[in-house]
Symmetry: C2
Subunit: 457 residues, 2 copies
């Protein structure tokens, strides 16, 4: 009887022992992240010593060299650069835009060329403006009301959506496809309201596309600050005949060679199964890219450092990948997946951080139901760290090309309320990243990697 009781006791405590070990490992990860941080210092360098890292720029090259050197210093098993050809788009001299109410009577407004846009003629363009609330308005207006004009896309982000990424998703077609669509109706240029929930004076950059439109038909596209958009819209209501002037000198060059930066710890038991953690090293050029996505890069580097520092040796091979060119091409993400497939590498898990360095709230997961249920069962381990959200949803652009049967894709989900105040704008800068928030994100990622490594079948 005694023996039986003892056995029951052991069985009952079994999962508790396991739990306790996990609790301790996770506690050690968070403690190290908060008491012995490294990610924040790396971000300081990337942001303040290097700055904006647009694909193909000198800064992007410096960031490749700097992060490789930092990974080299961590004592990983392998660190290497994976070559990838990337687009090189250059903004040129600062853009100029103004509203002209009558000849010579002008009001300057803050704009920036959208990434991938063509330049205006050297003397700029000046035309009447037609304001629309989205792509679908063009068909209603028809060619005669659009031809020869500048189309002004002014549908704002929907402020009552709690998750700001949803509000972004509901607007970004104007930026991405606005010029291509307006060009079909004979517009001479487009102005897009910045993807920003706040009213301020920052124009927000971002990628746009002409699809397969011939070069001769491409029209210039620029973002206008939200205050500028409000002003322009208000003035159009008073006088629909006002004109808008835009001058930008941006240019697309030939593709240039760049790199994904990769480091790995070889798995102790299943070295052929690969787990990836990453962010993208490139950024837009207006700010220093601290939130988008310097934060995700240094958090990903931290994951390997935190696991090493806390003495955890992954059973599977753990790779950090700093992807190049997420912003205007996704070449790095595509190249990484292409090479992985060519080498027949088996990827079981990939985690991306690309939603800012704010307080972590949970994860978006792309996986099957049984994988989801497994991950969701770890919720109690995360609750002491105020991590509550485990839901199905978009993981991350750079890891998405890895998607195939059985791989678990995850995206860190930080608090999103402030993100679009800074996203792609001149105020995406280091001082807006809080050290604790950044480091908590890194610890949250490292804890998920630890649990996946240990418990994923």
């Amino acid at each position: 009887m005694r023996k039986l009781i003892f056995l029951v006791f052991l069985i009952a405590l079994g999962p508790v022992f396991g739990q306790n070990k996990d609790e301790k490992q996770i506690r050690a990860i968070y403690d190290t992240a908060l008491l012995d941080a490294k990610g924040y210092d790396w971000l300081e360098y990337l942001s303040n010593q290097i700055g904006g890292r647009l694909s193909g720029s000198l800064n992007a090259e410096m960031a490749v060299n700097y992060t490789k050197k930092q990974l080299d210093s961590l004592g990983l098993d392998n660190v290497w650069l994976q070559p990838v050809m990337v687009p090189k788009w250059v903004r040129g001299t600062p853009e100029i835009a103004y509203i002209e109410t009558s000849p010579g009577k002008t009001t300057n407004v803050p704009v920036c060329a959208l990434g991938g846009s063509v330049a205006t003629p050297a003397t700029g363009i000046k035309a009447q403006v037609v304001e629309v609330q989205g792509l679908e308005d063009l068909e209603k207006l028809g060619r005669e009301k659009v031809e020869g004009k500048i189309v002004f896309y002014n549908r704002p982000m929907q402020a009552n959506l709690i998750q700001t990424f949803e509000a972004y998703g509901g607007c970004v077609d104007q930026r991405y496809s606005g010029a291509m669509e307006a060009g079909k109706y004979g517009a001479v240029g487009v102005i897009v309201r910045s993807m920003n929930l706040r009213l301020d004076d920052y124009p927000h950059a971002g990628a746009m596309s002409y699809g397969d439109m011939p070069e001769s038909q491409r029209i210039p596209a620029a973002a206008i600050s939200t205050n500028g958009a409000e002003l322009l819209s208000g003035m159009l209501k008073l006088n629909p005949d006002i004109r808008f002037y835009l001058k930008q000198t941006c240019r697309q060059y030939e593709d240039v060679k760049s790199y994904n930066v990769i480091g790995e710890i070889k798995g102790s038991e299943r070295p052929d199964e690969i787990m990836v953690v990453g962010g993208h090293l490139d950024s837009w050029d207006l700010g220093d890219g601290a939130h988008d996505d310097g934060a995700g890069c240094v958090q990903s580097m931290e994951v390997l450092r935190l696991l090493k520092k806390t003495g955890y040796k992954p059973k599977r091979t753990l790779r950090v990948v700093l992807f190049m060119n997420e912003e205007n091409g996704l070449r790095g993400g595509n190249k990484y997946a292409e090479v992985a497939r060519a080498k027949n590498e088996k990827h079981v898990f990939a985690l991306e951080s690309d939603a800012g360095g704010f307080t972590p709230r949970g994860f978006n997961l792309e996986c099957n139901d049984s994988q989801y249920n497994l991950i969701n069962s770890w919720k109690p381990l995360f609750e002491p760290y105020l991590i509550h959200l485990f839901r199905k949803g978009h993981s991350g652009a750079d890891i998405r090309p890895l998607k195939e049967n059985d791989i678990v894709l995850a995206g860190l989900m930080p608090d999103s309320q402030r993100y679009f105040d800074h996203h792609h704008a001149a105020n995406d800068t280091f001082e807006h990243v809080n050290k604790r928030e950044l480091q908590l994100g890194a610890a949250t990622m490292a804890s998920l990697v630890y649990l996946v490594d240990k418990y994923l079948k």
Copy 2:
């Protein structure tokens, strides 16, 4: 049979219908808070047009008048001022402090007098420094090692605590009681490391007390910035004989008359049962008090506006109370409870917001188990708004004097990671409050008030 099925159907849908109504009301509250915000504008005025609102100051008086006027404009049933005598402590001319390594060789460091401290002599004090890690070190050192010296309290906030208020609670005794304790050992002054998790140059003010120590024995107390504390500590390690100079001209005046600002909507069914929602109108003087606690005041005002605007008429009387003098006396909170008891008012619920205007995460609750279980059962209604935390814990200083049998006390719990970067310092300013985060907090409070009004027995 048909009838029975229909009946079962009705019963089954009963709670769902109720749920749907609650879901709709709460959705309307959040929509209004985000699409038709008022709190953020009020905060802009309080912060930028008025500024820091230390009890007894002209600014505090202006804030009383401004908020009363705004409440008047909301069409409430009653708005009034509740007189309360408050302490009047004035900082005087900016403090001066430096470290002297040898005669004439000095390094200035940023300090501020702690609230309630006495001044130094007009020529300042200069003395050797003894660094301690807390009050308990004084006994170990004994009078001979303390007498005639400046005691430097340098125990930092514990960075690996996830909830920063816990880290604050673990340090603040140095600030509050440091001078009183050091005075007993013959110290001539105290310098306290700022309650700040970040390394920066802002000294953080805050209340201190001499207990019932005679005036003649009181010694001056100042906070030093965290960078200053690190520097001083480092220099002491190199040379324990360095001297510290401090000059401050602060002064405690006679108590002056001020006010709690109160507005109410009379309950439609149970007017004698009172629900309170509030924050404190006073602040420290170095910044503009936007987070502490301008945010809590305007969120509390918003609660009444949001319920009115969404057409909800409370069954119980709902009061907003903007308490005066939380920071250095709690006179407003005590006065409100005293008057309530004298008038035999029945308070069933009180909710305070005094932890910054950051993204809301949940509530701290002081209540009995059945009340807790009721409130916790509303969790699913809050989840779409990313509100997850319903736990027992400290509600709020101003509403605590109302504590007695059966009353439910609650404190809004925002994300706390950045709070102590700004708390009581010159950088507690409007630009560090995010409009969405502030308004989400107001909506979260209004939703809780709605559910309490509807479902609390």
